[in-house]
Symmetry: C2
Subunit: 216 residues, 2 copies
């Protein structure tokens, strides 16, 4: 639900950021590294998280996930099926997670058992930008199937995230998209300071580079 | 921007619906048929609208488009390049069009010159659902690249739309998605009353069926 009412907007964002700070301190007190994965429907966030978690688990890193969705348990089910322990977090109607929903989900996790928490936000490239959850990293995932113009259309989420990932490199040709256009737009938007990480979660390409960017 | 505040929510929706009714009456007074195309980033809304408009123009139907985006003029540029006259409508920050933005865009159109107005909403499968714009039809466009679970995850927009379209049928195999799962989910959600229209805007497949569903 979306309301343009400047005064209230600030109150809501302030309250979100206050709880985000609490989440951050809670996670840090357990020495947990946390990542918020944002991106549109079909960007491949679930597949990417599963792949990253597999590689980390192989190194002995203990990972859990929070699966954010408006409704249903599809992503949660995919996490569990892959062997990744997860909590399902439905927003009910809202188009993004917020810090309070994450706080409630973290309360369901035995934090002493994990080194890493991956949070999959609701499939949406616009709305999650305004709501930090209290994670170490905010990651935006886009895919080649979304066309070559998504950076030009959606500045906010790219500017509000620490790392950008371009997924589904393996089908760029099939969908007729030039990944270089997207990566160049991102470079321009971030003043040449940041690089977008290309990958294919399905083909297991570019995953190690992403883990390195996340400090693993 | 998203605020959960039940009282205000109702006020904003009421105000939106009031202006949507004004838009509807304005369009009807000019005997214009109008369609709101909603769907995620990369669903192929722009390509589909261009293809529908081409076929209509070939029949002598006069079409114009409103290109809704958070920022930029990419879709507007694609419309104009295809020969489809259009108005660019940037929301600035908001993740969906609303009736008031459409009212302002319609004020820029010489309505006497057109039979049809196609409105492309912002790329987002969640938020536009709550904001009718005053069109004859609300259409939701999804694509096979979004995975087979989008109907299960996003009830609202499917229930709030008159027609659902499944685009990019030509690359369903390449992305490993079974379109039948999506179409069956939609049938279940709508109690077997409604059928999802499969198409490929790029390959020009299934377009005539969509035009027929829109009463052309």
């Amino acid at each position: 639900m979306h309301i343009v009412q400047p005064g209230m907007e600030i109150d809501v964002l302030k309250e979100n950021n206050k709880i985000a700070n609490e989440n951050y301190r809670l996670l840090k007190s357990h020495k947990i590294k946390s990542v918020d994965f944002m991106g549109s429907i079909g960007a491949g966030k679930t597949a990417l998280i599963i792949k990253l978690a597999e590689k980390l688990r192989a190194k002995g890193v203990r990972v859990c996930a929070i699966a954010g969705d408006v409704t249903g348990a599809d992503d949660y089910g995919r996490f569990e099926k892959s062997g990744l322990e997860a909590v399902n977090c439905n927003t009910g109607h809202e188009c993004h997670l917020d810090a309070n929903l994450v706080k409630k989900s973290l309360a369901k996790v035995d934090l002493g058992r994990y080194d890493v928490v991956f949070i999959e936000n609701v499939g949406n490239l616009v709305c999650p930008a305004d709501f930090p959850l209290g994670t170490d990293y905010r990651v935006v995932v886009v895919s080649t199937t979304e066309g070559d113009d998504m950076v030009r259309k959606h500045h906010d989420i790219f500017l509000h995230s620490d790392i950008a990932i371009l997924n589904k490199m393996d089908i760029a040709d099939a969908v007729g998209v030039d990944p270089n256009v997207i990566m160049e737009d991102y470079k321009k938007l971030t003043g040449g300071l940041k690089t977008m990480y290309p990958c294919s979660a399905r083909k297991d390409e570019g995953i190690d580079e992403i883990l390195a960017a996340l400090g693993f």
